[in-house]
């Protein structure tokens, strides 16, 4: 190894005279130091630069979708301000908080790795993992509710979700009397009559006696009360719905879906970190993987910081 180092040294004489004497000593001292790096600092900085270049491609990746969003929103402003009300601000807000807190635990994980606190690092990584899982669970409830209501991209958006029994079964609920809901929807214009809407929704969400309401039922009941739009067929029954509303949901699923995939990948790499941290790989001398996964996780948080106001918070 020292031979290789001095060969490199020989090719670049101007570079090495400041610290050429330490090569073999550095490599003997730090088992993690690859032979093509001279010092741990050089290895660390190279890894960080590589990670930042990857994050730049991630920014461009999401950036193209943000451009698509900007084009659609400037073209159909009325669609965005209308359809945004179908999204659940409470769930989106909770998810924002969950991601911020998991970013904090990730940053704390890097801190504890730097300090050599193995147990604290593992706890922080598990908390970050829990935040990622919690985010996906909430996202699943949001998605499934919208998909059942046909609040989706493409032609399905314009097909009334007739199959109430099937939809209710998928939600884990007993079938509601479909005629009641359909009739109510058909007669009642949605805007301006929240009281009637709530009365339509309640029996659907309460569920039959004997089945304890799950978290999903709770959240659905809550959203039903807050947002009268949140019911099957509501959008098709609403005369105020502007043309091309499905475009909002197309870009919504594209962007939040890509973001969700990144959260899943984040869980995988954090899981690998937990394995290695438990094995005792990391300490004040070597914590590069923790640092790099931390950067990745923060960029996932950063993308959501923009997605949340751009989709959920349109006035």
């Amino acid at each position: 190894m020292s031979h290789a180092s001095s060969a490199v040294e020989g090719q670049r004489p101007g570079h090495g005279d400041a610290h050429g004497h330490a090569h073999s000593a550095e490599h003997a001292k730090y088992s993690f130091l690859a032979h093509h790096f001279e010092t741990p600092a050089q290895q660390f900085d190279s890894a960080k630069l590589g990670m930042w270049l990857f994050l730049a491609t991630e920014v461009l990746f999401f950036g193209a979708l943000f451009v698509g969003y900007a084009v659609l929103r400037s073209r159909f402003p009325e669609v965005f301000s209308y359809a945004s009300h179908y999204l659940d601000t409470v769930m989106g807000g909770i998810n924002t908080g969950v991601l911020i807190l998991s970013s904090l635990t990730m940053a704390l994980g890097v801190y504890f790795a730097q300090r050599g606190k193995k147990l604290a690092l593992i706890i922080c990584l598990w908390l970050t993992m829990a935040g990622a899982a919690g985010f996906l669970v909430i996202k699943y409830f949001e998605y499934s509710h919208k998909i059942h209501a046909h609040l989706v991209w493409g032609p399905t958006f314009y097909i009334p979700p007739h199959d109430e029994a099937n939809a209710a079964a998928n939600l884990g609920q007993a079938p509601v009397a479909p005629t009641t809901a359909a009739a109510a929807v058909a007669v009642v214009p949605i805007a301006g009559t929240p009281a009637v809407d709530a009365s339509v929704i309640r029996p659907a969400n309460a569920g039959p006696a004997g089945i304890s309401p799950s978290a999903a039922d709770h959240s659905l009941a809550a959203t039903g009360d807050i947002i009268p739009h949140e019911m099957p067929e509501a959008h098709l029954a609403d005369p105020a719905m502007p043309p091309n509303t499905h475009l909002f949901f197309a870009i919504y699923y594209a962007m939040t879906g890509l973001h969700g995939i990144h959260v899943v990948i984040g869980m995988v790499v954090i899981g690998m970190l937990i394995y290695r941290a438990t094995r005792g790989d990391f300490g004040p001398n070597y914590y590069t993987p923790v640092d790099l996964v931390g950067l990745y996780w923060h960029i996932v948080d950063l993308v959501w910081i923009f997605l949340f106001p751009l989709f959920y918070l349109i006035h």
Binding site: A41, T89, A107, V187
Partner: protein
């Protein structure tokens, strides 16, 4: 060349953290817990503010306020969580430069589409309109229209 300095870490970082030099990592920068926690708190407060602003009608400015708050939040994450404040300037250049090019692309795309906005077809796509007009149970918008505006 301080970044490639291979001296022992107590000498390397002792200048700015004499009190607990022994705790310092060999490479990189140790960001105190206090800064990390206050960053998270600031992010949560800004989230609450951005939700609150949604319910205030300031017309065109709503979106710009929302984007402004998001940019501040993103800057907080990048500066403190991602250690950019203490990172090599080139990494900052990679990241900020990349974001600027995305903004550039966005600006030109929006300018371009707004040029031919007037020539674009408005209204639903024909198939979507057919579905909406269908006089079938569960496709109530047509009935509504006749009910409300006879």
């Amino acid at each position: 060349m301080s970044h490639t300095d291979h001296s022992t870490h107590s000498a390397d970082h002792g200048a700015h953290a004499a009190s607990h030099a022994a705790d310092h990592p060999l490479v990189g920068h140790l960001v105190p817990v206090r800064i990390l926690v206050s960053t998270a708190m600031a992010l949560l407060v800004l989230t609450v503010i951005t939700v609150a602003v949604r319910y205030i009608d300031i017309g065109e400015f709503n979106i710009w306020v929302a984007i402004g708050i998001a940019v501040v939040k993103a800057a907080l994450v990048a500066t403190f969580f991602m250690h950019l404040k203490w990172d090599r300037p080139f990494n900052v250049l990679v990241f900020v430069g990349c974001v600027l090019f995305v903004v550039l692309m966005m600006a030109f795309c929006v300018l371009d589409t707004s040029q031919y906005r007037d020539t674009q077809y408005t209204g639903n796509a024909p198939l979507a309109q057919e579905t909406l007009d269908a006089n079938a149970p569960g496709a109530p918008i047509a009935q509504q229209k006749t009910d409300i505006n006879p």
